[in-house]
């Protein structure tokens, strides 16, 4: 949920609630104030009537106007509390009952008591209150609308530095070494965000760099002891009188050392690719390199009784480092030989759609999407170290090539689209 939506979810009901309650209160206060006014008028009217009686000794005439009626009713009461009441009186002309305010009080004329009643229409007052309320509500509604619209624009403008930073972070790629460009802003919060982001990225980048250097150095350091182990094994093998059990031990030692050595070399290669040690990209004749590589491997394939069918377009040029091109081809093609069976075949196509290498083989037992991950390998291929495809992927990622692996119709298919 967006921040503004979350804010509005709280803000709108509260605003509307407060407006409703205050409108109701406003209505009643206005009503009371105006009613007070009417009551004052009625009191003045009462004083006038009393004054008239005191002056002239007689009651003034009863009157009957549309908005004010005065009448006198003889009474036997000698005591009567003045009272103010509301009343609805039916208006014949307009055929509706209208609200009136009524005052009843006792008046004495020549020893006779009368109840004087003054009815004063409050229709207009009511109308005014409603009108005022309507106008107020309308103004508030318009205000609210304008507020929301401006909020939208102002807020999206206010959040712009934040969104910019976010966008930069999304595009940030640690291994691609691209710098992020944070837009300067005068908002303190965003300034702090940018400063923190910048520091964090610097720290992460330098940590990543030192980790990569460490990996590379460690891999280099491992090579010498590995060389010693392998060479000592080789010397041991030259002994004339080894028995079967000893041979088995030596064989296992040798296999393990070789595995370790291959793994180390592949890891080193991955680190080197990531450390951009193969950065000089050049326009290379990929067809030529591929053909040369396949020719070199043809005897190997035939020793394993595997046929290579190739369909390679001439002079297919791409921008790539030549060493990486060889590593790429070697990994894909050697995989196709390694994960094959005697009597199987390999199809290699190079054309406008890119490179496609497919080979017969048994179905992989793990998800095909996972095969690009480091050390992920099909359990069936025990002699593989599980780094070949991840080297291919690392190279392809570096050059934004699209690489895919699928198992279709009993064939392993690796496709690389050079975009």
């Amino acid at each position: 949920m967006k921040l503004i939506a979350k804010y509005n979810r709280v803000n709108i009901p509260i605003t509307i609630g407060i407006l409703l309650i205050s409108s109701i209160a406003y209505y009643f206060i206005l009503h009371i104030v105006l009613l007070n006014q009417v009551d004052n008028d009625l009191q003045i009217e009462k004083q006038e009537i009393i004054h008239y009686v005191n002056e002239k000794g007689i009651l003034q005439e009863a009157s009957n106007y549309k908005d004010q009626q005065i009448e006198f009713t003889p009474t036997s009461l000698t005591h009567f509390e003045t009272k103010l009441t509301n009343e609805n009186i039916y208006n014949k002309i307009e055929d509706e009952s209208e609200p009136f305010r009524r005052i009843d009080f006792l008046i004495k004329e020549n020893g006779n008591y009368y109840i004087a009643t003054i009815n004063k229409s409050v229709q207009e007052t009511e109308d005014i209150v409603r009108l005022i309320l309507m106008i107020t509500l309308l103004v508030i509604a318009v205000l609210l609308l304008i507020l929301f619209i401006t909020n939208r624009f102002v807020l999206s403008k206010l959040w712009k530095p934040f969104n910019n930073t976010l966008e930069q972070l999304k595009q940030f790629n640690l291994s691609a070494k691209n710098k992020i460009l944070l837009q300067p802003t005068d908002v303190d919060e965003f300034k702090e965000l940018n400063a923190t982001t910048f520091l964090m990225i610097q720290k992460v980048s330098s940590d990543y760099e030192s980790l990569k250097r460490f990996t590379e150095n460690a891999s280099h350091e491992i090579q010498t002891p590995l060389a010693i182990i392998k060479n000592k094994i080789e010397l041991l093998l030259q002994s004339e009188n080894l028995d079967g059990a000893q041979i088995n031990v030596i064989q296992s030692l040798n296999d393990a050392a070789s595995r370790l050595s291959r793994m180390n070399q592949s890891l080193l290669l991955l680190t080197k690719i990531e450390n951009s040690q193969f950065d000089n990209t050049e326009r290379i004749n990929f067809s030529f390199i591929l053909t040369r590589y396949i020719e070199n491997l043809e005897e190997l394939a035939s020793a394993k009784d595997i046929t290579i069918v190739k369909n390679i377009a001439n002079d297919f040029f791409i921008d790539l480092n030549e060493s990486l091109a060889e590593i790429l081809i070697s990994n894909v093609v050697v995989n196709a030989i390694k994960h094959n069976y005697p009597g199987g075949n390999i199809k290699i196509d190079l054309g406008a759609n890119g490179l496609s290498v497919s080979n017969t083989g048994t179905a992989p037992k793990i998800k095909t999407s996972e095969l690009f991950e480091r050390f992920k390998k099909d359990s069936a291929s025990g002699d593989s170290i599980g780094l070949g495809l991840s080297i291919v992927k690392t190279i392809c990622d570096k050059y934004d090539f699209d690489v895919s692996y699928n198992f279709i119709e009993e064939r392993h298919v690796v496709k690389i689209a050079f975009i």
């Binding site: 010498t224 392998k230 000592k232 080789e234 030596i250 291959r262 193969f278 394993k304 593989s384």
Partner: protein, 222 residues
């Protein structure tokens, strides 16, 4: 034949020396930069094995020194770095070959043999083993003057065997020599190459020199 091994790792230089000694090479060992500089200055070697990452100096400086002194020693760089830059720099400075660690002693031996063959070029491009002779210049193989038609890999295999004659050469070392170190895994397919090579030689009346040893590798001997 005199070889100088410049390598700070004692265990490694000893293994190399032991293997090479049996190939009738005389080996000197230099464990550090200064020792190495002194030795190359006062002696002439057929081949110098140079580890370029020495604790007390840049191995490539020794190479420069050799070239300055106009020495004709063959130089084989052995490096833990397997870096393309180092390789190119080394070869540009006049090194003959570059071998990354870890390596097979048989591979090292074959490379040294190739360097020495190239250095002593004067008419010595023919390797003789009983009736078998290999002309490394024209890549011709003959058995008692009968030419043998070998494929590129079979030729390389034979040369590798001859360079390491009377030694056990592991299947893995053969596979890596022929196909580079990325073929990995199971090396049983080497048998097909061996079988073809053996058949071609025996068809010309040659003795079977290639013997399988312990199932781990092969030995070329009479």
């Amino acid at each position: 034949m005199k070889i100088l091994i410049i390598e700070d790792e004692k265990a490694l230089s000893e293994s190399i020396a032991e293997y090479l000694a049996k190939q009738e090479y005389h080996c000197d060992i230099a464990e550090n930069f200064h020792d190495a500089i002194r030795k190359v200055e006062y002696n002439d070697y057929d081949c110098v094995l140079l580890d370029i990452t020495l604790p007390d100096g840049d191995g490539l400086k020794i190479l420069e020194q050799l070239k300055e002194d106009k020495k004709t020693d063959g130089v084989l760089i052995i490096s833990a770095k397997n870096s393309l830059d180092d390789k190119i720099r080394g070869l540009n400075l006049g090194a003959d070959d570059y071998l990354p660690k870890p390596f097979h002693l048989s591979e090292l031996n074959a490379r040294i043999a190739a360097i020495i063959r190239r250095k002593n070029f004067d008419g010595k491009s023919i390797i003789q083993f009983n009736n078998l002779s290999i002309d490394t210049q024209s890549k011709m193989v003959t058995v008692a003057n009968n030419p043998v038609e070998l494929t590129k890999k079979e030729y390389e295999l034979l040369l590798y065997f001859i360079s390491n004659k009377k030694r056990l050469v592991s299947k893995e070392a053969i596979a890596e020599h022929l196909w580079g170190n990325d073929v990995g895994g199971n090396f049983d397919f080497i048998y097909t190459h061996i079988k073809n090579l053996r058949k071609k030689l025996m068809d010309k009346g040659e003795v079977d020199y290639i013997k399988s040893v312990y199932g781990m590798g092969y030995k070329f001997s009479d």
